[in-house]
Amino acid sequence: MDENRIGIVRAIQGGLPLTKTPFAEIAEKAGVAEDDLLRRIRAWKDDGTIRRFGAILRHREAGYSVNAMGVWNVPPERIEDFAREAASCEAVSHCYQRPRFAGFPYNLYTMIHGKSREECELAARDISGRTGITDYELLFTTEEFKKSPPVYFAEETE
């Protein structure tokens, strides 16, 4: 990626300023013309470099106060089916396959959101019932220590 584009990523990754002409400010920060910036962002949306451009909400304030990481032990031949069922569940925002490790036999990860602990448990029981995968655990969030936008092309300070 060329320096111009890296400059745009750096200027915009922390979010838009709260003004009526936010892109003009980002363009100035990145040292490009506003029109070029708008064109670049639209092109990135089209080719998937930007997955989504919009407001990111705080789940708690939006009424989704509880979240749990559901971890599932799914045999290799059942992964596709399981993922399809889990992904179709409204309460599930993320579904990933990850490696197992010693003492932790789970290979599928689902982020489950609900208005209460019971709602998350119910969603997990529903997924379990529909997939027949019964070896799972829910790891409820006890504390949010950090949640910040990712920093790409971080400028090294050391």
């Binding site: 990626m1 990523v9 990754q13 979010g15 838009l16 709260l18 009526k20 002409t21 936010p22 892109f23 003009a24 708008l38 962002i41 639209r42 990135w44 949306k45 998937g48 470099t49 930007i50 997955r51 989504r52 451009f53 919009g54 407001a55 990111i56 909400l57 705080r58 789940h59 304030e61 939006a62 990481m69 992964i79 993922a83 889990a86 992904a87 925002s93 993320h94 579904c95 990933y96 396959q97 990850r98 490696p99 490790f101 932790f104 655990e137 790891l139 409820f140 969030t141 006890t142 504390e143 949010e144 220590f145 950090k146 949640k147 936008p149 990712p150 920093v151 790409y152 092309f153 971080a154």
Partner: protein
């Protein structure tokens, strides 16, 4: 939060207008003025409903790698260790969870080779050795929007 707020949120979560005057475009879509669309958005940011407005980049398409890390931390050291972990700029999310693996964090690095060395540094600085690097082998779903 009234009906207009909900309609506004449903639009701007996934489709913030990429134009010079985005709040004018939003106002048009909602049937209100630019001033009203801007004031409503500002209120939702200030009251904490909206965390920020901006792009969600595809990490891989920017040539970066991200992983989840699971750590087993002595319970009485959780807050202290979490603070050290959070202090690394590459760490984007860091959560305490009710499990023997009680600290889970994600980190983003410019290339894969950096991940191992970063996690070694975190192990050294925290004194916590039981840490597992868990890259996503497959992504089946990623959705962060909510229906109002």
């Amino acid at each position: 939060m009234d009906d207009l707020d909900r309609r506004l949120l449903n639009i701007i979560q996934s489709d913030f207008p990429i134009v010079s005057r985005p709040y004018a475009a939003l106002g048009e879509a909602l049937g209100v003025s630019e001033d009203e669309a801007f004031a409503r958005t500002k209120k939702l940011v200030e009251s904490g409903v909206i965390r920020r407005i901006g792009p969600a980049f595809d990490t891989r398409k920017l040539g970066h790698s991200s992983v989840l890390v699971a750590a087993k931390v002595p319970t009485d050291r959780l807050a202290e260790v979490a603070e050290i972990v959070s202090s690394f700029p590459q760490v984007t999310h860091n959560y305490g969870r009710d499990h023997e693996y009680n600290l889970w964090f994600t980190l983003i690095c410019r290339d894969e080779s950096e991940i191992e060395s970063l996690v070694s540094r975190i192990r050294t600085e925290t004194g916590v050795s039981d840490m597992h690097i868990l890259p996503a082998e497959r992504l089946f779903k990623l959705r962060v929007e909510f229906e109002f």
